[in-house]
């Protein structure tokens, strides 16, 4: 019983910190509200798609910015996609870097773009770790709850 309460407290505190530190925003809450008994893994599934999609886009961005002659339109298109998907799952810090990134693309500012790419890679990596930790806590909690005999 104690284990469950501790885990619950840990989960709440951790989740709160993610919102406070701007890693997640209200859209993540929206996704959680779409999860229920009929779709118990919805959030994990969407976030997994986001991880796959982002990794692909970050690779494309690295390649595109490594060219002799950078195609800023192409770079912008990738950043636009990343901005969209991060916004859809509530990954606020990633989304914000993308906004600045797009401005650099518009200015055809290669240094600005390279700096943004580094920043977005960092933020992505951070939020990925945070979300994975969050999911782990949730799993631990459900396992602990599951092991409590009913009645």
């Amino acid at each position: 019983m104690e284990g469950v309460l501790q885990l619950q407290r840990q989960l709440i505190d951790y989740t709160t910190s993610l919102y406070n530190e701007g890693f997640l925003d209200d859209q993540f809450t929206q996704l959680q509200q779409l999860q229920d008994e009929s779709n118990p893994d919805f959030v994990v599934e969407v976030v997994s798609l986001f991880f796959e999609d982002s990794e692909r886009l970050l690779n494309e961005l690295s390649k595109a910015l490594d060219q002799q002659s950078v195609d800023f339109k192409k770079v912008d298109a990738h950043v636009h996609q990343l901005k969209g998907s991060s916004s859809s799952i509530g990954a606020q810090r990633v989304q914000r870097i993308c906004i600045a990134f797009r401005n650099y693309c518009e200015e055809k500012n290669i240094e600005g773009c390279l700096k943004s790419l580094q920043q977005v890679k960092n933020e992505y990596s951070l939020v990925k770790n945070k979300l994975e930790s969050l999911f782990k806590l949730q799993q631990q909690l459900s396992a602990a709850c599951g092991s409590i005999p009913m009645e």
Binding site: L34, V46, G84, S88, I89
Partner: protein, 193 residues
């Protein structure tokens, strides 16, 4: 003054949960969702399903037209049993944009009556107006929330539209946040419908 009324009404709408968009006891609304983003397709699909809709999600305007049987290059079988009650499409897509898809649907005698809703991450006033002018039923600024999907009930039931005040305000609300209007918060664009 009117704005206070609007905000409290929107709050009331947002409070109601488990919103049921089915048209009647026997017929669930069938929505065709178009978005090139895998993440967004997954989210919109879930938003619609949780609102009691059947969903067909495709990744391009081209595929949407093929599904409807409107693609000139590919003659496809029409799905008689699966009437589409609403089309919801992203604006920015490679190949055919949501706007181009909207135009093609409104040009079709068979499908022009189907309400089309546009989604976009970019809150650009000119874009919103252009879509509404072309016959879009509504314009949703991404990321899409459950409260946005609730607003679509109206389109599909084809009943009396929400009071024009409310609809105008929904569109104005998204317009109001755009940069163009930020300097004059009390003005709102003329409703184009």
């Amino acid at each position: 003054m009117a704005r206070n009324g609007v905000f409290s009404r929107r709050k009331w709408l947002e409070k109601s949960e488990g919103f049921d968009l089915s048209l009647s006891d026997s017929h669930e609304a069938h929505v065709l969702a178009v978005d090139d983003s895998l993440v967004d397709r997954k989210v919109i699909e879930r938003l619609l399903k949780i609102s009691s809709c059947k969903v067909t999600a495709v990744d391009s305007g081209r595929r949407a037209l093929q599904f409807l049987g409107l693609d000139e290059e590919k003659s496809s079988v029409t799905f008689d049993g699966l009437k589409v009650d609403l089309i919801i499409t992203d604006y920015c897509m490679p190949g055919m944009t949501g706007y181009e898809l909207l135009k093609k649907i409104k040009e079709s005698s068979t499908f022009r009556e189907i309400p089309v809703v546009i989604m976009s991450s970019e809150n650009i006033l000119a874009r919103i107006h252009r879509c509404l002018e072309e016959g879009a039923e509504d314009f949703i600024v991404k990321p899409v929330k459950l409260s946005d999907v609730k607003r679509l009930k109206d389109c599909m039931l084809g009943q009396d539209r929400m009071e024009s005040e409310d609809r105008g305000i929904n569109k104005r609300k998204s317009c109001e946040t755009s940069d163009i209007l930020s300097s004059s918060p009390s003005t709102s664009p003329p409703s184009s419908r």
